[in-house]
């Protein structure tokens, strides 16, 4: 995570996400996927092919791509289909867009009720016998049962969670890095799924993206760094207030 300053002098924190060897793996048509939209399977970071069975390796062999560590599905409209085997780059997103980031949260193991659910626990002194971090009562007398979904101690973390509506501040096309506002679930160097935001307030900002994606062998030549309009670029002189 890194600090970033806007032209008005305000400071924001930013997470760097690297797009590492992403390829489109397979196209699943509308009928096959039993849904309303067709799907595209996309694979992330390269990994060794020796620890997977032959049947699992079929997808990668058909697409002509080394084995990927993570495979995710994206629901795609019919006009945005891409041929399997095309590489995807960070320039698929542009500064000013809003993005949802999904990843597995850091695993904390078996945790008690205070850390996992934020319960207040009991006082440290004034006569408390062996009760400082316990949940206390778990149900009422009238219910005479414990409801399903009662918050209790258990395994915490290592679950997929999404942060919604994160602004993209900057894109580095040379190293394929996306600078995304705020924090993102997951530990350092973990695999993450980045999608266009579904929030209704962010619909306007996501217009005119590179459609269906940014092709590196195309005619368009992008500069090494793409910045949002509001960002303070370090080539400019210091900020002054008129």
């Amino acid at each position: 995570m890194m600090p970033i300053w806007t032209k008005s002098g305000k400071r924001h924190a930013v997470t760097l996400l690297k797009v590492q060897d992403c390829h489109v793996l397979r196209y699943v048509s509308k009928e096959e996927s039993d849904g309303k939209t067709s799907k595209l399977l996309v694979g992330g970071k390269n990994a060794s092919p020796f620890s997977k069975s032959e049947s699992a390796m079929e997808i990668f062999r058909e697409a002509g791509v080394p084995r990927k560590q993570k495979v995710t599905t994206f629901n795609v409209t019919d006009d945005a289909l891409i041929k399997p085997g095309t590489p995807l780059y960070a320039a698929h997103f542009r500064p000013g867009q809003f993005v949802d980031v999904t990843a597995k949260t850091i695993g904390k193991g078996f945790q008690g009720v205070m850390k996992r659910w934020g319960f207040k626990g009991q006082p440290a002194s004034h006569g408390q016998t062996k009760t400082h971090r316990r949940p206390g009562a778990i149900s009422t007398n009238k219910a005479s049962k414990v409801y399903r979904g009662k918050k209790m101690p258990g395994k915490m973390g290592n679950v997929y969670r999404t942060s919604f509506g994160l602004k993209v501040w900057r894109i580095n096309t040379k190293h394929d890095i996306i600078y995304v506002n705020g924090s993102v679930p997951g530990h350092k160097n973990c695999l993450v799924k980045v999608k266009d935001s579904i929030l209704p307030t962010c619909k306007d900002y996501n217009k005119n993206p590179p459609f269906p994606t940014f092709f590196a062998d195309g005619d368009e030549e992008l500069p090494e760094d793409l910045y949002d309009e509001d960002i303070f670029q370090f080539t400019d002189p210091s900020v002054t207030y008129a």
Binding site: M2, P3, N172, K188, N189, F232, F234, S238, Y241, A242
Partner: protein, 252 residues
Amino acid sequence: FSLSGCRISGDGKPAKFQPPPKPVIVDKQKQREQRRFLSPEFIPPRGRTDPLKFYMERKDMIQRRKVFNIPEFYVGSILAVTTADPHANEKTSRFVGICIQRGGKGLGATFVLRNVIEGQGVEICYELYSPRIQAIEVLKLEKRLDDNLMYLRDALPEYSTFDVNMKPVSHLDYEEIPVNKLRVRMKPKPWSKRWERPKYNIKGIKFDLPEEKMKEAQKWSQPWLEFDMLREYDTSKIEEKIWKEVSEELNK
């Protein structure tokens, strides 16, 4: 009349003329080049982060340094910082103070300046790479006995007062940075932290505490810490590489 004929060597024959030793010329320019200063926020902390992240941050830091001069300074030097302030009269505010702490790595590196203004102690934490900073001047470049001068909060206020209209003290490039061996007198206890304990390792305080208190403080010493191999972080090679990279970029 010369004594050359009288010179006798071990053999008894007249000694061979030996010219006087050549004077050693100390080249000040070369001395200047030998002294390299790499700002401490360039050195990446120990962790599992990808080195690419530090490289991207370093590029941004070098870019900012090309446009705006961040001078060399240490904890204990007196600085004057002018920042852009939307609520001030002339939209700029200037603060003079002694640097008591340099923290953070990368773009978020900070330094804390302390001064006593009209009897009130004021500490301001500035970010080195913030675009709101208009100028940083080093009024007096010097080091102190410690890396962290937080104990000045519990020292007598005369040690933290500095004239706001101080003239900059000139410092030649090739001279070594002077170390101010001042030992500071403290206010009566209680202090904000127990500075006499060995964990803070402070050399810059003149303790007036009785011997028993000093001995009791040594109870909290952890003499095994300096031998702990897992805590070792040798930055010499990393520093060399980063120094080369940074100096090449800045001299372009």
